[in-house]
Symmetry: C2
Subunit: 393 residues, 2 copies
Amino acid sequence: MDLTPLNPPRRILMGPGPSDVDPRVLTAMALPTVGHLDPAFISVMEQVRAMLQAVFGTQNKLTIPMSGTGSAGMEAAMVNLVAPGDRVLVGVNGVFGGRLCAVAERAGGEVVRVEAPWGTALDPDAFRAAAKGRGFKVLALVHAETSTGVLQDLSGFRAVADELGALLLIDAVTSLGGVPVDLDAHGVDAAYSGTQKCLSCPPGLAPLSYSARAVEAVKARTTPPVSWYLDLSLIARYWLGTEESGGAARAYHHTAPINMVYGLHEALRIALSEGLEARFARHRRIAAAFVAGLEAMDLPLPVAPADRLPQLSLVRVPDGVDEKQVRTELLAEHGLEIGGGLGAFAGKAWRIGLMGSACTEDNGRLCLSALRAALGRQGRVVADPLPAFDAAL
Amino acid sequence: MDLTPLNPPRRILMGPGPSDVDPRVLTAMALPTVGHLDPAFISVMEQVRAMLQAVFGTQNKLTIPMSGTGSAGMEAAMVNLVAPGDRVLVGVNGVFGGRLCAVAERAGGEVVRVEAPWGTALDPDAFRAAAKGRGFKVLALVHAETSTGVLQDLSGFRAVADELGALLLIDAVTSLGGVPVDLDAHGVDAAYSGTQKCLSCPPGLAPLSYSARAVEAVKARTTPPVSWYLDLSLIARYWLGTEESGGAARAYHHTAPINMVYGLHEALRIALSEGLEARFARHRRIAAAFVAGLEAMDLPLPVAPADRLPQLSLVRVPDGVDEKQVRTELLAEHGLEIGGGLGAFAGKAWRIGLMGSACTEDNGRLCLSALRAALGRQGRVVADPLPAFDAAL
C-alpha cells in the first residue's frame, strides 16, 4: 500500500476547466468544518445564496449550490421539471446539448433535438420550426458550449418558449462569472453552472437557479422526480427553510459539503469584489489579445468572431501536428494544461481557457509562447505572437 | 451585499456527522488544484481506490468515490441495479432504510419493506418471510443506522440473498472506518458510504464499491439507469479507464471534485496509518467508557447493548428536559455539537457521535461533563459520570 503524502504539482490551468484556483479560495476550504445545521453555517448559506443571485443576475429565491459538479446541476435542473411523457426541446451544437438530451430522456422526457453544426450558435427560429406547433414542457439550450467555445445569444428564446408554453432552461456552466448571464433579463426559468470555470473554485458544486414559475411547475407535478438526491422540493426545505416554519426551520435532506461551500463563498466574494463588469471586461480584453496572438501564428479559429466565448477558445490543430504531443510538452515543460477537443473536434482542436483567476496577461503570453515553441519542435515555424498580443491589449 | 470574510467557529463535532476533521485533511484539501485528467491526479485516484478497498475489506475493482455526499452514494448504488419493475427487498428500521425505499421506488423498483422497530436490528428470517418465495433483484439494508445508532450484524444475509437470487446492497455510511465492514467476507455486492463520519473528512464524497457480480448486472441492463450523473458504467470509464484501451485511457464523464479527493486521500492515509484494527479498538474502548458515563447519569439508551454502534449513541431525553435547549447550550458554551433525534426519535433522543478524529478520551469527558451541567440547569441533578468513564477505559 502506497501511503506517501500527496504532493500535487503546481499547474497553470488553461484547459476548459478546472481553472486556476485563487489561494484565498483554497485557504477558505481549509477552515474548520462545522455542522450542516450550525447557526454559523446557516449564515454562510444565506450569504452564498445572495452572492449567487448577483452573479446569475436574478432575484430567484431558489438560487443555491447543488452538492455535486456541473453535471449534477444539469441533472437537477432537468429532472425536477421533466416527468415521463413531457416533451423537451433541446438545442444541440456540442457535447453538452447532447448531454441535456440524455438526461431528459432518462427522466422519461420525449426529446426533440434542434441541431446546429458544432462551432456555430443556435437560432430561435430553428426551435420554432422543430416544434411544429406542438407544446413543450421545457426548451433547453447551452449558453456557453464548453466543447466548442461558442457563446449563445439568449435574446429571443423567451419569446419562443412563451409560444411553446415552455420553461426556458440554460446551461451556464462555462459562462457564469466570465460573461453576463442575466437570468431575469432573459426570462430564464432554470439555470445551472459549475464552480470550476470562471468562478475559479475547485470542482464539486453546481450553482442552480429556478424562477418562481419553475418552482410552481415542480409543485404541480403528480409524480416525484427520478432523483431523490437532487429533488429540489426537499433540498429547498434545507436551503430556504421549511414552508410550515415560514423559512425559520431548516430540514435535513443530505449533509451539505461544508468546506466546498466555504470555497464557493470565497470565490464569489473575489468575483463580486472585483466587480462583475470589471471581471467581464478583463475576460474580453485578454481574450481579444490572445486571439490576436493565435491569428499571428496562423492558427485557425473555427468559431465565427461574433459567437466566440472570451473565456474559451477553440483552436484547430494544423495538419501534420501531433496535438497530444503539444499538450504533453506544455504540461511537462511549463506545468501548463490546455484541453484537447471533444466529440466532433476530438483530435482536431485544442480548447484553451482564460477563465477567472487564470485569465491574466502573463498566462496569455506564456501560453502563446509555449505553443509557438511546441509547434516549432514539430517543424511548423510560425511568427512571434507576442507583438500582436501586446498591441491588442 | 455582505462581503465579510468567512470566520467559522471552531467546533467539536459529536453529532451524527460531520465529525471533526483532522487538520492534515484540511491542509490536503488546500493543495493546488490540478486537472481531472492530469497524470498526477490519475495516480492520486489509483491510491484512493486501493485505500478504499482496504477500508471496505474488498478486492472489488469498482471501488471509487462518487462525486456527491453519502445520499448520492445511496442513489448510485441503487439506481444502477434497479430497472423499472425490478423487485427490491429493503430492511427498514430507521430513516435510512426508508430512504433506500424512496430511492428504489423512484428508479421504478417494486419495493417490499421488511420493518423492524426503530432502535432494533433486523433478522435475516424476516427477509425470508417477507419475500414469500418470490425472487428479488436487490436485498438492501443499513449496516449502521445513523438515525438510531444500531449496528446491523450482516451474517446470514448473503444466504438469504442467494435464496432470492438477489444482489446484496448495504448502507455503510456511518460504519466505514469505525467498525469492520468486510464486504468480501459478507458477500456484499454493493455498498456506499460518506466521508464525513468515521473517515473524518468533510462531507462531499461517497465511497462506493460494486462486486464483479453487481457490475455484470449493470452490463446486463436493457435500459440505462435513471441517473446520468451517477451512471457507473460511464463513471468507470473515468476511474478505471476504458475497456477498449485496456484501462490505459481515461474517458471524461464529469469533472471530478479534485480537492475533495485530496482530502479523502489524506483521511484514508490517516486511517490506514493508525491501522484499521487499532482504529476499531479505539472506537470500542472510548464508546464503552462513554456509555458507562451515560449510565452513571441514569440516561436511558434505547438500543440493546449487542446492537449498539460504538461510534454513535442514541440517548433518550429524560422526561421534562428540553432537549433543544441542552444542544443549544452545549454549542454556545463549549462549541460542542451533538445531534437531535430523527423520525421516530425526533424530539425524544440525542444522537452523540464519537467518530474518527472526534473519538478521543477528552471529547468523551467533555461531553459527559457538559451534559451533566446542562441537565443540572434544568433541575435534573445527576451523578458525576467521570469516575465511571475513567474506570471503564
